[in-house]
Symmetry: D2
Subunit: 143 residues, 4 copies
C-alpha cells in the first residue's frame, strides 16, 4: 500500500507538465487518486476561466495514476483515450480531480474522474472524464 | 473572411494558456484552424513525451476556433465535450493540431481534429479528437 | 412526480426499437431511469454475446429518459453524443441499464449510465456511458 | 485480400443482431468496411426516426470489421470503447456506415466511421464514431 503510493508519487514527480501547471498529488490509494491545482491566470482561456485543457490534464493524470495504483508491480501505464464533458465554467480558487478505477483488466483499465472547482470551501462539479489506460510491461533487453 | 480570421486571432490572443504552452495559431480559415506548439521539456509526462493534456489542449482550442470561424457574428463558443484517442507517443520537435468543422448547427457545432508530431519534416498522426462546441450569444444587459 | 414517470413511460412506449429489443422500462424517477432487457439469441454478435449496439441502445434510451425526467414540462430530448466503454463481455440472462443525470442545464443535460449483466441474481458491470442530451422545446406553429 | 473479405463476411454472418436489424455488409477491403441498413419502423425512437442505438450498432460493427481486416490472421476483435456524435435526425430510406482504420497497433486499433442517411440518392452525414478495438489472439487449449 505504501509501495503503491510511493510508485505513484515517484512517477507523478517526473511529470514536468504537472509542475508547470502547479498541480499537486494530494491523495493516492489503491484505485483512487486526487490531484489539485490552484487557479493561475497563466492557465486561462479567452474569458479568464481555466482552459479545458488544464482540467483535462489533471483528470488524465489522475486517471493514469489510479490505473497505475492497481497495475502489476512492474507495469507502466499509457493513456489510450479519454472523453471529457465540461459541465460548468471552471471558475474557482483551485480545482480538484478525483479519479477511480472502474475495471482493471490484464491489459486495459477503465477509470472515471470528476473535476471540481473549489470556492470558499464549496466544491462544484465542472467536468467528468471516462478513460481507458493500458498497462505496459517493459520488455527485458536481450543481450 | 479576413474578419473571421481576425475574430479567431483576437480570441486566441486572449487564451493565456496557449501562450504558456508556447502555442501559435498558424492557420485559420472558414471551418478550419491549425495550431502549432514546439516541444518543451516543461510540457512532458513521466517518460519525457509531451503530456496528453498538452496535445488535448491544442486540439481543443483548434476545434473551438474552427467552430467560432463558422458561428454567427456575435456568438462566442464554449467546449461542451470532446473525446481523444492517443495513437502514438507524442515524440517530436513540434506538434500540429488541425481541426475542421463537420457540422455547424444553430446551437451546436461538431468538429474533428488530428494532432501530428513533426520530425525532420515528417508528420506522424499521434492523436484524434471528436468534439462538440456550443454557440453562446451574449445577452444584452437590460437597463 | 407521477406526471414525470407518465411522460417518460409514454415516450418510451413510442420507441418501437425498444419493443423490438424486448426492453422494458423498469424504473423512472426524477433524474434516474432503469431499462431491462432479457438475453435473446437474435441480439448477439459473432461470439454469442449481446452485441455492443444493444447494450448501447438501452444505455442511450436510459440516459435520454433520465434527462427528460428533469427537462422543462414541454421539452422533448435528443441525444447529442455519447461514449461507451465496454468492460466485460455481455454474457447474462438479462441486462440492466441504469442512468442518472449529472448536470441539467437549460439546453444540455449530461448523464452517465452503467450496464450490468444479471446472472443468477448477481450483477456484473459490463459497460459505462457518458452522454450529452439536448432539450428541444417544440415551437408553436404560426397560423 | 479475398481471404480478408471472406474472414470479415464469415464473422459478420454470425452476428445475429445484424440480421435482426436487416443490415448487410456491402463492402470490405483492407482497412475499410461498409454496412447498410434499410429503414424499418421496428427500429425507431419516439419520433419515428431511426434509434441512435441502431446507427451506433452498424457503426460499431463497421469499425470492428475494419479493424479485423487488418488484424493478424488468427486474431479476433473486441470493441473496447466508442464515441458517437449524432449530427442530424436519422431520417432516410436507408443508412450507410463507412469505417476506416486510422491506426493499427499490435494490441489496439483505432477506427473512425461515418453514418449517412440515404434519400433519393443523396447522402447526408448523420453520425460520426471514433472507436478503439482490441485484437484477441485465441489461446491454444492445453491438453
Amino acid at each position: 500500500m505504501q509501495a503503491i503510493e510511493q510508485k505513484v508519487r515517484e512517477s507523478f514527480g517526473r511529470q514536468a507538465f504537472m509542475a508547470t501547471l502547479g498541480a499537486q498529488l494530494t491523495a493516492a490509494g489503491p484505485g483512487t487518486v486526487e490531484i489539485r491545482i490552484p487557479f493561475s491566470d497563466k492557465l486561462t482561456q479567452q474569458n479568464g476561466f481555466l482552459h479545458a485543457g488544464v482540467i483535462t490534464s489533471i483528470l488524465d493524470s489522475a486517471c493514469g495514476y489510479a490505473a497505475l495504483s492497481v497495475a502489476p508491480e512492474k507495469a507502466e501505464v499509457l493513456s489510450v483515450e479519454f472523453k471529457v464533458n465540461l459541465l460548468a465554467p471552471a471558475v474557482g480558487e483551485s480545482f480538484i480531480a478525483r479519479a477511480q478505477v472502474k475495471r482493471a483488466g490484464k491489459t486495459l483499465t477503465v477509470c472515471m474522474a470528476d473535476a471540481f472547482a473549489l470556492n470558499q470551501g464549496n466544491e462544484k462539479l465542472v467536468a467528468m472524464m471516462q478513460a481507458t489506460i493500458m498497462n505496459m510491461i517493459p520488455q527485458p533487453h536481450h543481450v
